[in-house]
Symmetry: C2
Subunit: 203 residues, 2 copies
DNA sequence: TAATTTATTTAACACTGTTAAACGGTACAA
DNA sequence: TTGTACCGTTTAACAGTGTTAAATAAATTA
């Protein structure tokens, strides 16, 4: 009877090994590098054995995604527990969110659909800077008369531009990946965010 | 000699056809559905001739990406030209950016690395709502004492949450696809954005 | 020890991107 | 006209992918 337990324990262990091996491969070579045969190699089995533990490759990704959400939630709770004031708690939690994204980059990618393999492309393409240049100019125009005769520095413009871009691109990707909220909420977020940043420039 | 021109014109046309066929396939079945053989089917050729026009599949994606940036730039310029005041121009341009993302969803995805195939996963996973719930609670706590005895509505909380989330997730994904800036700028954007939204709550 | 169940692998299928070789036809020189 | 060089195109193949069914090895049970 005890042998049954031992076997079950072993099965649970190799299941865990599969997940660990997967994450290891992804961390070494990105999500494109993850294949069933490579996982099998890593755990010193052949590929079909994996299907005894996961119905398909997607089930592995799903399990890693779940682990990611649990880990993130743990970090958020820890951050919250370090403060008493809600304002301080919020600040700490979003900072923890930020840190998690880069500490567990691969998990964050699969959790929220951030594709990095396409980044090589736009890097060597001058056209990719066109949108930024166009908006950059208008931000400069908006800042200059206010601060006259002080000319805004690169950094000052940069911060404003990335604040704009982040909130809008963020809302877009959230909606594309997860179907965020209602259209009304989206436009409310958009409008108040944009006018808020503009106000922060014009005083 | 004119036949040379005709041939060159035909070559340019099939090159264009390849790009059109690719975009058509992607719009019908997503980026995963795009394969060299399907493109060949669409233009009524066999796969290897595509390599006469593009060195590899990546070159096709790159060309579509370039088209996307040009199209977006055109939209931004058009939006700008419709206003005179820089503040109004900025507002219109970011709205145009937003509209472009959904009008040319597939192009936006490849331009900025937005992965949608993973969205099926997190949908049926209760853990994916854990982070939101944790932060949601703190936002409620932050809003309640201010508006007392008025209890904040679902919508009011939602707007604040998504504003937070958008700017932070946006900044994260922008940095992951390697279009980000310096660490100092990042943290400046983060800190000012977070404290700005908190101030917009606490008055 | 023999039979049966379980664990694991081998082989295969249908895909993928990509390349080399073969084929068909056209253009041009002898 | 014939031969040859070229060009466009296809066929065949390779290595890789996820996945499944069948064959085999190992362990357990009778």
């Amino acid at each position: 009877m005890a042998s049954k337990d031992r076997i079950l324990r072993l099965k649970e262990e190799t299941r865990c090994n599969i997940l660990d091996a997967s994450l290891k491969i992804v961390k070494e070579g990105g999500w494109d590098a993850l294949s069933m045969r490579k996982i099998a190699d890593e755990i010193e089995y052949t590929a079909p054995i994996i299907y005894e533990y996961f119905s398909n490759k997607g089930a592995i990704l799903l399990e890693l995604t779940r682990k990611g959400f649990l880990l993130l939630a743990k970090d958020l709770e820890a951050a919250k527990s370090r403060h008493r004031l809600p304002a301080k708690q919020l600040e700490a939690m979003w900072l923890a969110y930020w840190n998690f994204a880069f500490a567990e980059k691969e998990l964050y990618q699969v959790m929220y659909g951030v594709e990095t393999s396409c980044c090589e492309m736009a890097k060597k393409m001058p056209e990719s800077e066109l949108p930024m240049d166009l908006i950059w100019d208008v931000i400069v125009e908006l800042m200059t008369p206010i601060m006259a005769p002080h000319v805004p520095t690169e950094d000052e413009i940069c911060i404003k531009y990335y604040t704009f871009w982040s909130v809008i691109h963020g809302l877009i990707s959230i909606n594309m990946v997860n179907r965020g909220t209602s259209d009304e909420t989206n436009h409310e977020v958009l409008k108040t965010a944009i006018s808020g940043i503009i106000r922060s420039i014009t005083g």
